[in-house]
Symmetry: C2
Subunit: 373 residues, 2 copies
């Protein structure tokens, strides 16, 4: 009896980095934005099941939470689960990213863990790509000024992704942490963007921007980041930071006067900006919007909000893309993690196999004796 | 700025097998039963949070389900998540175990994935150990005949574990699959048990056994495995197979007349034998029973049922035990899966690092030139 060994492709962070270096960060981002746009354009809730995420949150030993974000794709016969740790004190306390995460992919034919990858860089990348995708279809086509409120890790990929779909001339940025705002320009230098970077206050950002991304670690109950401020009539905001009950970034007045499009309605009403809204104030989910754009053509002429709490569909797209590159570039390690006995009903089989190896040894007995001696 | 790299200890199935071969299967099982007994004796729901498992179930491409079983231990600052695939056609269709599974352990200080191990062998082992633990305290102390209904992978570790806590003289076994019952005696041979193995029918098993374990893949709605049959007044049954709404193994009449003790009440009423019962028919959860044994001393004198749907506490115990052995024996691979930039707020840092490596190269320029040429 022979058993097909189950192997899990484990991509290390170094593998991920090697893929990005080899392909190029602009090329990776462009491809991801395109693939994500297609995924939303073809997303069908009957074929891809996505329950609202669940998890544990706590105040000790650090303020934080660990969540699982599952997806079941019936056509691809796979389940994707992203595990996400969110610990806002990570950067200061441990020099670690706020979001520490991995993504797993399971085969629904057998239950096998097919692949395991980083979810830190991949989350930053896909959250940027999702904002770019939404901004592209919801913003004024001649937008050229981007505002960034919150300049942590997510802001870098937000700027990068949005710069790939708009000819940005100016970036207005703000962070309440001095070190974070002071390091911002050096952290984006490697993007080689021909864009003017201006540190300013939130009021100026809201007033002068065509597009804004908010990606802060504002505390629960301490929102919004700003009160009613005059802004351009077509202002589009990617609200990335609100991801927990009670954590919101935008003022109700702005939301009420805008076309609000959540990536994932059921989740957004629990932990996104949509927490603040009644059902009648909320627009279609993003996939519905992009699949029926003509129906909502007024959105580009008014202020709009992409309420981005994170849809596992995005994790599936980015993971598949990196797994495909890994295969092409022969990166990653295949590890047999799940035990597969020779006889599936005999979990202690391997205790025999040891004997079998001895019995079937091909070293002549005299050589073996020498070795033993 | 320097970043502490996050490393995940990945144990392969071979590592797990090496640990078992090195320690010995009896020694491993004895240690696990002891550690699990302590874990249940000290289990405190305020300190260890265990939500009911959730997942996806489907009929295509195979009948099966993929579930996640999470646990949060506030004192150890860790989250454990077991991912379990249950695909009853795996052995026949793919020569794979019915249960394909992995277990992950996360640090709640940072969200980091600390360890990843097999969950196939570990589930079989811990389910056996849990039955042994329950049987030890709930069965007649002079029990000597064990009945096994269902002779797949789980039955092997059930027999093994229970043989470690009772002087068994006879095993009565039944499986409705001919190949499975015919291979049973050879599959348990390596346990070197001095026990008579008797293939018989379910009726004889129920009539003559002191202890029974049911571990079948009976279909939803097709239970029970037997109807009212006369049995020894002290018969103890470990009901291991029922793990899905509508899937039950035991007749209501037997349950009604027995002391029923679920490992995890909230889960057992949804997918265990307790589905069939009203709250008033259900005894304490096992941890409560073992923490207050004198209060329930009548249990050993009447028939009893351990309704075992699987408590993640058991997964924590078995995973910790194997991780500790792996550390001692220097087994497993440490892989940096999660991306940790040098600057936690600079996800593209690694694009610079490439430059940094070139700049900091120590090979003399002339040698480098030679290499390039």
């Amino acid at each position: 009896m022979s058993a097909k060994k189950l192997k899990t492709l484990v991509l290390s962070a170094s593998d991920i980095e090697e893929i990005v270096r080899s392909v190029g960060i602009d090329e990776i981002m462009d491809e991801l934005i395109e693939k994500m746009t297609i995924a939303f354009k073809t997303y069908n809730k009957d074929k891809t099941k996505i329950p609202v995420r669940s998890g544990f949150n706590y105040e000790q030993p650090q303020k934080g939470l660990i969540e699982w974000m599952p997806l079941f794709d019936k056509e691809k016969n796979q389940v994707i689960v992203k595990m996400v740790g969110y610990h806002p004190d990570n950067p200061n306390d441990f020099q670690l990213p706020t979001i520490v995460s991995t993504i797993s992919c399971y085969d629904t034919k057998t239950g096998h863990l097919k692949g395991l990858t980083d979810g830190v860089f991949l989350t930053a990348l896909r959250t940027g790509a999702a904002s770019a995708m939404a901004t592209k279809v919801m913003s004024h086509p001649e937008s050229s000024t981007l505002g960034l409120i919150g300049c942590g890790a997510q802001s870098i990929t937000q700027l990068h992704a949005i710069s790939r779909v708009f000819k940005l001339k100016k970036v207005l940025y703000y962070d309440n942490d001095i070190e974070t705002r002071e390091s911002f320009s050096s952290r984006v230098a490697m993007l080689n963007l021909d864009i003017e970077l201006v540190f300013t206050n939130i009021k100026e950002i809201v007033k002068d921007s065509d597009i804004i991304t908010t990606a802060t670690s504002i505390n629960i109950g301490e929102g919004p980041l700003f009160d009613q401020i005059e802004s351009k009539s077509w202002l589009h905001i990617n609200a990335v930071g609100s991801d927990f009950p009670g954590k919101t970034e935008l003022p109700l007045s702005f939301l009420k006067n805008s076309f609000v499009c959540p990536d994932f309605l059921a989740q957004a009403v629990v932990e996104g900006e949509c927490q603040q809204l009644d059902a009648s104030d909320i627009g279609p989910e993003f996939f519905e919007y992009i699949q029926n754009k003509e129906k909502y053509s007024e959105a580009v002429r008014q202020s709009s909000v992409f309420d981005s709490t994170g849809l596992p569909l995005e994790d599936q797209v980015v993971m598949e893309m990196f797994l495909a590159y890994a295969e092409k570039m022969k990166l990653g390690q295949e590890i047999g993690i799940e035990q597969v006995p020779m006889d599936a009903k005999s979990p202690y089989d391997f205790m025999y196999m040891q004997d079998a190896i001895v019995i079937k040894q091909t070293v002549p007995l005299e050589d073996l004796n020498k070795k033993v001696l």
